[in-house]
């Protein structure tokens, strides 16, 4: 019985190990190719670099300088940080208002927010872009406002769900003691919302950082482009002659921050993503 179980466990381990290799292989292949000379990437994509094909950091240096990578990286970082901060702060305030002030108008607002969650982006892509240009929101600051509008649905929904479950006696007490609603919200309510705020922040950060079509339509492929747009431009030959080595380096540099972030905050990310899935 014991040997039988041991054999079975070994078989399971071998299977899991093979699958892990299969899951990591695509990332490893990109990493491997980013260290090889241009010619050898398209010629032999699956052979590891050797003394002849190895070029060190050359591709990374080219990747940095050629495609204004740093600029796109900074744009993406700026837009993600401010969008997520804005969404977490403002939608939690709105959710509290909607739940605590009960009338027809707030109920209608709530239904509109929930409704927006099921509408695919293509439905509003053209008209939203039109308003973004009309109102001059087609810059890295303006797009933060647009992300607030698009992120509002899921975020208000998740905050409201949590606020409904907490009793409002503490808030009432704070108000009676002379706190203004603004003070009450920041000193009493928001600290209680922290777990949901982390979930909302992670879900929105992943969405905004990886988003392609919205920033492409609103910011275009010029100097304001975000990282996914820069990657798409570079790999579909937006820069004329394709430099495969530099492109591989770009892919590696685009993945690296996400993987580092993931390895450090794994627990929160997995929890947040699952909570978002179950509620949405």
């Amino acid at each position: 019985m014991k040997t039988k179980r041991r054999i079975r466990n070994t078989a399971v381990y071998i299977l899991l190990f093979v699958l892990s290799v299969a899951f990591l292989a695509p990332i490893a292949i990109i990493l491997m190719n980013s260290l090889k000379g241009n010619f050898y990437i398209s010629q032999a994509p699956f052979t590891p670099p050797d003394s002849e094909t190895f070029v060190g950091a050359e591709n990374f240096i080219k990747g940095f300088s050629q495609s204004d990578f740093m600029r796109s990286f900074a744009n993406s970082a700026f837009i993600t940080v401010f969008s997520v901060a804005g969404i977490v702060l403002l939608t939690s305030m709105t959710a509290w208002y909607i739940v605590r002030v009960k009338n027809k108008f707030t109920r209608l607002m709530y239904y509109f927010f929930v409704f927006s969650m099921i509408v695919p982006f293509q439905m509003v892509m053209y008209t939203m872009t039109y308003y973004a240009f009309e109102l001059q929101l087609n810059n890295p600051v303006g797009i933060v406002f647009i992300y607030l509008g698009f992120g509002a649905g899921l975020s208000v929904f998740m905050f409201s769900g949590f606020i409904k479950s907490i009793p409002n006696e503490i808030e009432e007490a704070a108000i009676i003691d002379g706190c203004s609603p603004i003070k009450t919200f920041f000193l009493v309510v928001f600290p209680i919302l922290k777990p949901t705020a982390i979930t909302v922040a992670i879900l929105n950060a992943m969405w905004v950082w990886n988003d392609y079509l919205l920033p492409y339509l609103v910011l275009g492929s010029g100097e304001n482009k975000t990282l996914p747009v820069a990657v798409q431009m570079a790999l579909t030959g937006g820069y004329g002659n394709k430099d495969m080595g530099a492109l591989m380096a770009m892919l590696v540099l685009a993945i690296l921050p996400i993987i580092i972030f993931y390895l450090f905050c794994q627990k929160y990310i997995i929890k947040g993503v699952v909570a978002g899935a179950v509620k949405g």
């Binding site: 994509p45 008209t127 603004i182 392609y212 993945i255 899935a277």
Partner: protein
């Protein structure tokens, strides 16, 4: 408190509401209206009734093709992703050591954005096909299965995590009772584990369903260049921004009409999901 808070509407609700109205609500209403018009730009529009909707089906064969392709793709990926993810979840809940490591590895691809993912797989698939002297645009089948593999790679880990949570929620006493009654592991799986994780199955099926149905980034990056492998979202995009033949105003009207149909299909899926979840809640 309600009365006092109500006065603070401009602070608490107005900023979110303004952003929501400008980037979603008003564009949505205008979008529905524009689907009944021909327009080169939003300000120059001509009412044409349901002409756009008729034209989608009579003059533009790409819409029905991509609808059928999307249905096929969604069906295949929902099946494969859920079967593989559930099997992995079973293996990782057996109390083996190192489970956390495998969980971390399998979940990782989920965090990488669609555009980057698409290009990674484009390199790999074209690299393999290169040995046979072709590339991914050679046959629509390559594009289709490439997309299925990519989607599996991205979604399996995510669904696996939800299934693991579902399996861990089953009380141990249930399988112990089944074992005492003489159930073998297979019977235990079919009669205890699977019925008990049905809520997770509902969640995962609908998540994979909507994600596959609305897929865009991966499709654009992996097979944006081959004409016969556009799913619905990419087809709508191409109708708007990448076309030849008809007049621009007609393309725009048609694109918007396609988007309305796409929205109705997604809404239908969401509605069925809501009913399925509600029914289960009543049963328990």
């Amino acid at each position: 408190m309600q009365k006092m808070l109500k006065k603070y509407f401009p602070v608490f609700a107005l900023p979110t509401l303004a952003a929501f109205a400008i980037s979603f609500l008003i564009p949505f209403i205008l979008g529905v209206y524009l689907s009944f018009t021909e327009f080169k730009v939003v300000s120059e529009r001509k009412w044409v009734g349901i002409e756009n909707y008729i034209r989608i089906f009579s003059q533009d064969e790409t819409f029905l093709n991509s609808l059928w392709l999307t249905v096929k793709f969604t069906f295949v990926s929902v099946l494969t992703i859920n079967i593989i993810a559930f099997s992995l979840a079973l293996l990782l809940t057996k109390g083996l050591k190192g489970t956390n490591f495998f969980r971390t590895v399998f979940f990782m691809p989920n965090l990488i954005g669609g555009i980057v993912l698409g290009h990674i797989w484009s390199l790999i698939i074209n690299g393999i096909l290169g040995y046979f002297g072709v590339d991914i645009t050679y046959d629509p089948k390559y594009g289709f299965w490439g997309l299925v593999i990519l989607m599996n790679w991205q979604m399996i880990g995510y669904m696996m995590i939800i299934y693991i949570a579902g399996i861990q929620n089953i009380p141990d006493s249930l399988s112990e009772a089944a074992a005492i009654d003489g159930a073998n592991p297979w019977q235990n799986l079919v009669h205890v584990t699977i019925p008990m994780v049905m809520p997770s199955v509902t969640i995962c099926s609908f998540l994979t369903l909507t994600n596959s149905f609305k897929l865009f980034d991966q499709n654009l990056a992996l097979n944006g260049k081959s004409p016969d492998t556009s799913l619905l979202a990419l087809d709508i995009y191409k109708t708007f921004y990448d076309h030849t033949g008809l007049k621009l105003a007609q393309w725009h009207g048609m694109g918007q009409a396609k988007a309305v149909i796409f929205f109705l299909l997604v809404a239908l899926i969401a509605f069925i999901q809501l009913r399925a979840t509600r029914q289960r809640e009543v049963e328990h």
